[in-house]
Amino acid sequence: MDVGIVSYGAYVPRYRIKPEEIGRIWGVDGKGMGKGLMIYQKSVPSPDEDVVTIATEAARYMMDRVPEVDPKDIGAVYVGSESHPYAVKPTATIVAEAIRATPAMTAADMEFACKAGTAGIQACMGLVGSGMVRYGVAIGADTSQGAPGDALEYSASAGGAAYLIGSEKVIAKINKTLSFTTDTPDFWRREGQPYPLHGGRFTGEPAYFRHITSAAKMMFEAMGTTAADYKYAVFHQPNGKFPTRVAAQLGFTPEQIEYGLLTPNIGNTYSGAVPLGLANVLDHAEPGDRVFVTSYGSGAGSDAFDITVTDEILNYRRDNAPLLEKVMADPVYIDYGTYAKFKGKILMSE
């Protein structure tokens, strides 16, 4: 049975803030910082947006593109995020209700820092492949938090993408997936704490780079491929710098990662990052295109995917929902005051 992507949808909030505006408040050369991180602006959710609403918008776009799929045939909904609005009470049930997939289905929220979305894809692949469900929905979405003044404030943004995983009318076949996982505390947020902490430069070599390159090399070995065998590659992108460097280390060219690299324009969408990058690739993909995907979640692990776009994409009603380029067009730039208001940083009276 060929298991893969039957449909997808992606959403990014409309508001943006630039690093120079954040730097202006903290006496930091924000522009220089943005340049170093390769983040030129980041998305900001409206006060009425959260992971539920972002995941729902992405999932509705996903369903709009496959009007022939009965949502009642969806047997599983998984939402991966590190900013679920509830600590206890699933995001996934709300999204499932909003796309009318309830009630004969299973659902759960996932958390694995920035890779919970791809973990959901893997879970759905297992359920579909084993015949337990006809379709599974995996969503990666975040409205990530960076402490005011912290380096993360320049990157932590919002967005998400949803994937319908199935075995019928697959537009992109997932040839293989595998993971590389260790216990590496490079970034974390304790229960009840509003902001995550991180190990500074420790997040680089022993964390991001080791896990991504290990998973990627395992995939190359398993598939007997090299970077040259893929048209596109998508890597986790906490900033623009890391994925660019890891791609080069693995032998990918800047052209191969161009469509999959959105962080320079929208910031780090955490669990949404790889799902969004892959969505942008699929927006441009043609039959036969092979896509290499490797996510990364702090804590730490990487999920790698080897994907081939099928002829079915020619029948796929991609235009039933806006392409990601259109979703990201016409942003509204906000100042730090508005940003503070939107992010709920202003203390209001009860």
């Binding site: 409206s46 609403t53 509705r60 709300i94 509204v332 939107f342």
Partner: protein
């Protein structure tokens, strides 16, 4: 806590604009009605579920400056009466819109947004709002 059941039972309407239709006279009702005010007795037992179209046009609007507490962070914000493509009038907020570009006749579509929350620890209420439909 007391609002949980009340909010829960309206989920179909609030998330998905689920209304009803009188099969006797064809009238569409949103919010859902179990009793057709036109057919009255003749409509009993003939009310079925109807999904209101999520696209429509602004029929009238206002920019609200004097906001209820739950919308303090959004003010000023736009409210609109939206006539959906299937002719239903829905009153709701219009978000992600430039205040000086809102106009009667503007095409809009429904999205799911956070409407309010019962404090920092209570339940979050989600429901439809509209955004410009380009």
């Amino acid at each position: 806590m007391s609002t949980v059941a009340r909010e829960w039972r309206e989920i179909p309407g609030r998330y998905n604009l689920e209304g009803t239709k009188c099969e006797n006279c064809g009238s569409i009702f949103f919010p859902a009605r179990d009793f057709c005010p036109k057919c009255r007795r003749a409509g009993i037992g003939k009310i079925s579920r109807y999904d209101v179209c999520r696209r429509g046009k602004v029929f009238s609007f206002s920019i609200v400056h004097d906001a209820p507490d739950f919308n303090n962070m959004l003010k000023p914000y736009v409210v609109a009466m939206v006539q959906t493509d299937d002719g239903v009038m829905v009153s709701a907020q219009l978000v992600d819109v430039d205040l000086d570009k809102v106009a009667i006749g503007m095409p809009v579509r429904a999205v799911l947004r956070k409407l309010s929350a019962d404090g920092a620890s209570g339940v979050i209420r989600y429901g439809y709002k509209f955004v410009p439909d380009e």
